[in-house]
Structure formats: structure tokens, C-alpha cells
């Protein structure tokens, strides 16, 4: 529906703001192909030197592997728990759905630094610091609300009578869920899992407080930026920008499909 055609001025303004939002990230990519010792723009000569450093430095690789391990565990926890919660919310009485959604998505509004400090102080007393599993659970608690929001929106679009029919025809509750509700829900779950993965993979502060011995990738980047800003960070950033954009664009497409085409 159009009330008016956007003026040339507004169009120009829109693209200017888009440039402001995207340009800083794009600038990192040419810098990552520089082969000089220092951060400089435009780079004097091009090469894959800093990508080489990243892939051969055991410290960077170890940090990446740690982050990956924590993020995978955290994603499994957040997706499982979040989908169960989304299902429980939609199957609850209508008037209870909004308060239940607020209650289970509350971590979204709490500053990460507050959660990080709380988890750290508690972990100190329970002697759980420097524990990757504890970190994965803390990340899962932060990521779960996003899973709840995505999956509950998708479950709302799924006709519950199909699952009831499966029950009537003699399937147990798990089987009925698996054959009737799970298949149409799967795209939303995959989307939610990708979002949850990057919540953990990009998270710095909780990891920074909780971990001492081993390092996650954001912790490694952070340490590097605080000491000497070497172009290795540009190479890592270049890789992450591409991976994140592709993965999350796929997730967003899946999420949109899950909440639109399934409508009865």
C-alpha cells in the first residue's frame, strides 16, 4: 500500500544510512588481504599472509575449536529446551501464553555483564570456573529465549488437530509429536539453532569472566585487540563476516518460511 512515493531525498538518505551500517564491516575484508605488518588502509600489497598466520597458529586454532565445541553443546541445549518451551507455551491456555512468553524470555532484557558477573560469582563458590560445560549452559540460557520466540511463532502455524488425530489413531505422545508436529517444525528449529549457535560463538563477556585456562575465539580476538592490533584479527573477521552472513541469511529465510507458508 502506498500513501506516497518516497522522494529522491529520502531515497538518498536511506542508502546513506545503509552505507553507514554496512561499510565499516566491508572495509575489514580488503584489509584482511594486506600483507604488511601494520594496520593500514589502503593496504600496500595484497596476499594471504594473515590468513596463513591464522590457520597455522596453534593458539588461534585452539581458540576457534574451543568456541566451536562450546557453541555446539550450547546450541543443542538451547534448541532442545527452547523448542520444548515453545511447544508448552502454545499448548497452554490462551490467556497464559503472553505471561509465559515474558517469563521464559527474560534473559533478553538483562545486560550480559550482569549475567556474566552473577554466573562468575556463583561459579567461584561452586568451584566451576574454567569449565567449558558450565560456559555452554550459561550461553544456552542466554540463547534459549530466541529459540522460544522463533519456534513458538512457527508452532502457532501448525494445525494441532493432526497430532490429535495421530493420538486417536493409537500413537503415543512422542510418536504423535514426531510424525505430526516435528516435520513442519523442523525448518524453524534449524533457524533457531543457527541463531543460538552464533549467540554462543560471538559471546565475549561471560566467557571472559568464567574461563581462565582455555580461551574462546572472541576472548582471543579481545586479547589481541587490547595488546597489539595485528592484521590477524582482520583475517579472522573477514572469515567470520562471510560465515555469519551466509549462515544467518539461511536461518532468516527458513524462519520466514516457517511463519508464513505453513499457515492453514
Amino acid at each position: 500500500m502506498h500513501i506516497m512515493k518516497p522522494s529522491l531525498l529520502l531515497t538518498g538518505y536511506f542508502w546513506l544510512i545503509v552505507a553507514y551500517m554496512i561499510f565499516p564491516a566491508l572495509i575489514v575484508i580488503p584489509v584482511s588481504f594486506s600483507s604488511s605488518e601494520f594496520l593500514r588502509f589502503p593496504p600496500e600489497d595484497f596476499g594471504l599472509r594473515w590468513y596463513g598466520v591464522y590457520f597455522t597458529d596453534p593458539v588461534w586454532i585452539a581458540a576457534t575449536v574451543t568456541s566451536f565445541r562450546v557453541a555446539v553443546l550450547s546450541t543443542v541445549i538451547a534448541t532442545t529446551v527452547g523448542t520444548m518451551t515453545g511447544l508448552a507455551i502454545i499448548r497452554s491456555p490462551t490467556h497464559a501464553q503472553a505471561p509465559l512468553t515474558y517469563a521464559t524470555t527474560i534473559p533478553i532484557v538483562i545486560p550480559h555483564i550482569f549475567i556474566a558477573l552473577g554466573v562468575f560469582i556463583l561459579a567461584l563458590r561452586l568451584d566451576l570456573t574454567d569449565n567449558e560445560v558450565a560456559l555452554a549452559f550459561a550461553h544456552a540460557a542466554v540463547a534459549m529465549p530466541f529459540v522460544v520466540l522463533i519456534t513458538s511463532a512457527a508452532i502457532r502455524q501448525i494445525d494441532p488437530t493432526i497430532e490429535r488425530a495421530a493420538r486417536v489413531l493409537g500413537a503415543g505422545p512422542f510418536r504423535a509429536f514426531r510424525v505430526a508436529t516435528l516435520p513442519p517444525l523442523l525448518p524453524a528449529m534449524v533457524a533457531a539453532a543457527i541463531f543460538a549457535f552464533f549467540v554462543s560463538f560471538d559471546e565475549l563477556i561471560i566467557a571472559q569472566f568464567l574461563m581462565k585456562g582455555s580461551e574462546t575465539l572472541p576472548m582471543r580476538i579481545w586479547a589481541d585487540l587490547r595488546l597489539d592490533i595485528s592484521p590477524v584479527v582482520a583475517a579472522v573477521s573477514g572469515l567470520l563476516i562471510v560465515v555469519t552472513t551466509v549462515a544467518l541469511a539461511c536461518a532468516e529465510i527458513l524462519r520466514r518460511r516457517a511463519i508464513s507458508t505453513l499457515a492453514p
Binding site: 502506498h2 500513501i3 506516497m4 512515493k5 518516497p6 529520502l10 531515497t11 538518505y13 536511506f14 545503509v18 551500517m21 554496512i22 565499516p24 564491516a25 572495509i27 575489514v28 594496520l39 593500514r40 588502509f41 589502503p42 529446551v81 520444548m84 518451551t85 511447544l87 508448552a88 499448548r91 509465559l100 521464559t104 532484557v109 538483562i110 545486560p111 555483564i113 550482569f114 549475567i115 558477573l117 552473577g118 554466573v119 562468575f120 560469582i121 556463583l122 567461584l124 563458590r125 540460557a141 534459549m144 522460544v148 552464533f198 563477556i205 569472566f209 580476538i221 579481545w222 585487540l225 587490547r226 592490533i229 582482520a234 573477521s237 567470520l240 563476516i241 544467518l248 541469511a249 532468516e252
Partner: protein, 277 residues
Amino acid sequence: MKFRQILWLFLPATLLLVAFIAAPSFDLFRASVFDPDFTTEHFERLINRSVYLDVMWRTIRVSLTVAVLCTLIGYPVAFFINLQPRRRQTLLLFLILIPMWMSILIRTYAWIVILGRDGLVNQMLAMLGLATEPMQMLYTSGAVLAAMVQILLPIQILTCYAAMTEIDFDLIRAARVLGARPRQALARVFLPLSLDGTLTGLVIVFMLSMGFFITPALLGGRQDTMIANLIEFQVQRLNWSFAAALGVVLLVLTVGMIVALRGAGKLLARRVLKGGL
């Protein structure tokens, strides 16, 4: 579905949130007043030293500035997307979503590349012969502000956009039929109707700014320290109880300001709905 089954489905989330959100929050409150016996010493220290009061005041001021800037910059962007045909709206939304997904650490790093001594801006100035000496742009409040607005802008645009899509465009058409000029229809009908969602966006951006840590630490100087940076500093110096007191203050200030902003927003909305702008 039976009530018992629903309860079972809620159980894992309850356990996760109690163990990793509620219990740590409770422990943080406890640590702020027990060290190891009951004491208000940490809160007294916070109130009695002007350094700490400065940091609190700055955190609120910077967050408000960022929220207002994001609103002023973001509103026309959301409006522009809303004027497009449906299919193009989806495409344009992706342009807003892509920067939002990138890690804040990397987006902050990008600003170091741009504003650094040998960064993009200084190189360009030198090339154009506009500056003989590199300008100091990193470690300034302006750098922190530019980056925080850039990082949080997509969130405000998306919130405004969502609010605008809810507006019934027949109302605007009705205003036009009744003789309102486009500008009038926008100011008297569209703007008031989108106000509530815009204020929600402003509150969300404010809330997220209050906890900002990475950007002030990397792009700001000593004069740009925010509460979250102070917390990290105290944790490094093993002053956990004092850090906990700061955490409590951060949460209380954030929640208090959200309530105040919501109240102010309601008042504003009532005035706008009554008389237009």
C-alpha cells in the same frame, strides 16, 4: 494436551533459567551486601566517590544519547522501507539485518580500522592534502558514539518498521480524502500511530546501551568508561563484592530508567494524540 504434560515441557527451561539466571542474580545481590558479613560499605563507596558517580551518570547520558540518535536516524529509514512494494521490503530488510548479525567485537574492530592513526579517514585526509598530521579520532567519545549508534541502529529500524506495518493505511487514505495534505496526514495520523512502537525501540536501544562494554573499552579513552567497564576492571582486581554492587546499580538504573522512559512516552503519546505535533 494435558496439564501435566505441559508442566513437564516447561521443566527444562525452568531448571536452566533458575540455575543460570535466577540463582546467579540472587548470588550477585547477596555478594553485594555480604562480604562476608552484612555490610553496605560497597554501596557507600559507590555513592561517596565522585569518580563512580561520574561513571553512572555518563552511562545514562551516553545510553540516552545513543537511543535518541538511533530513533532520529532510524525512523525515516523504517518509513522509507514501508513505502516500498512488499517484495522489495523483504530485500531491504536484509540490508538492515546483515550488519545486525555481525559480532559486536568485529563491528567495533572495523571502527579501529577506519578511525586509527593509519586508518581510512586519516589516509584519505592525507591523500587529499587536508591534513599534515594524523587526526586523533580513536579513544574519543565521538568514536564511541559513532560506533554505538552504528551497532544499535538496525534494532531501532526493525522495531519502528514492525510498528509501521501494523498501521492501517486506510486511515491515512481517509485523512487524504478528507482534505489533509500528505504532510499533514503523516504528522497527524501516521506519526501518532507509529509513536508507541518507536518508543519501544528507543527503550530497547537504551537498555542495550546501558550494558555496553566492548565498544567503550576499545574505542574510548579513560573519560569514556561505562559501568560495565568498571565492573570488568573490578573483577580483574578481584574486588568481586564491589563489582557485584556495581552490577546491582547497573540493573537498578536500567530498570528505573526504563520505567521513567515508558512513563514519559505515555505522557508524550497522550499529548500527541490529543493535539497532533
